[in-house]
Amino acid sequence: MICSEFRAVLHAFLDGELDLVRQVEIEDHLRTCGACSRIHQAQLALRSALKSDELYFRAPANLERKVRMAAQPAERKRLPRPRMPAWIGASFAAAAVVALAIFVVPKLSRPSRTERIAQDVVSAHIRSLMPGHLTDVPSSENHTVKPWFAGKLDFSPPVADLSAEGFLLVGGRLDYAADRPVAALVYRKGEHLINLFAWPSGSTHESTEAADARQGYNLLFWTRGQTNFWAISDVNAAELRQFASLVRAHLS
């Protein structure tokens, strides 16, 4: 062991990240080399100084209560809602139009589930537009965004590069909808942001796009490749439909 070798692994040695053989070699070296030993001593001194209680900021006594209070509305949101919100009535006309679309009929046989997902999607979309909530992994590279989800979700969401068609990838985010963690992919079309939510459908059943409009946002949802997709944005319905068909085309 020579001194330059020691200095190269000094920090791994200090932090106990070396294998046993290397660890022993270094301990031997430190016994015989005054210069390296002094460096080591200085590092140990720094370490013990940093371990001081005065440098560790413990949570204030009332923080747990504050966090618990803040968390309550979010927890309630996850419970099924027996009552329909008042604004459902206002969007009844839109819902009637949707009902005309024949492919929606199977969905309507289970209105409560779709209804709840739509609420989740709208809430998650609005929340994502608040400052600092849009992306966990900001990147226009689908090769960066897709692997980011590995280890965070129990599935690998499809991430399409649609930049050639004018839909630019902004990034990805973990979100919560349909009573489970979902992948949220964020695209930009001009000044408009599109959230594309994806999660496993758990069956081989596929469905074509169904449309909805709520609180000023257009929604499209479909199932393909054993994945449920929900797209939501303030782009107009035609553009959102174009976006959805591009996503389908890229992933088929």
Binding site: L10, H11, A12, D15, E17, R38, I39, Q41, A42, Q43, A45, L46, R47, A49, L50, K51, S52, E54, L55, Y56, F57, R58, A59, P60, L63, E64, K66, V67, R68, A70, A71, Q72, A74, E75, P131, G132, H133, D136, K152, L153, D154, L174, D175, Y176, R180, P181
Partner: protein, 176 residues
Amino acid sequence: MDTQPPPSSAFDQVVVPHLDAAYNLARWLTRNEHDAEDVVQEAALRALRFFGGFHGDNARAWLLAIVRNACYDWLRRNRPAEASASFDEEVHSSAVDQDPTPEDLVIEQAGRHRLREALEALPLAWREVLVLRELEGLSYREIADVAGIKMGTVMSRLARARSGIQQQLAVDSKRE
């Protein structure tokens, strides 16, 4: 606690046991007590939202990763210059290759407040790895996961952070 509503499993499994760690990290990254409280509340909300995605057994590292991201989001929103300060490993690396001098030992005499100032003065990217390592005792693997960097980067940033603090303290002691 009897008057509280039923606690959520996520909250009691992940957030409460590690609230000190969450707050300590947020406090060192934001360098402000009130901001740290805000960030921890936001992080707890995110933890609750994403709890279904938590499959591992390392709740503390999982929560600290969320806290760390919440800190960066908060900094981007409130102190964009600080958060986006372009971080150039090469430019900041001058300290590393210098041979340490006996002055390193001044650490033993340095007051705690000087140590705190030196730690707070470190660039964000160094400060976070040093806090995670020395104050939270995380392994390189855990730090790499929390900060989203490679293990080799963890080691080089730790080296620079430690060297940066030692130099700062040495300068302080010469001034006296």
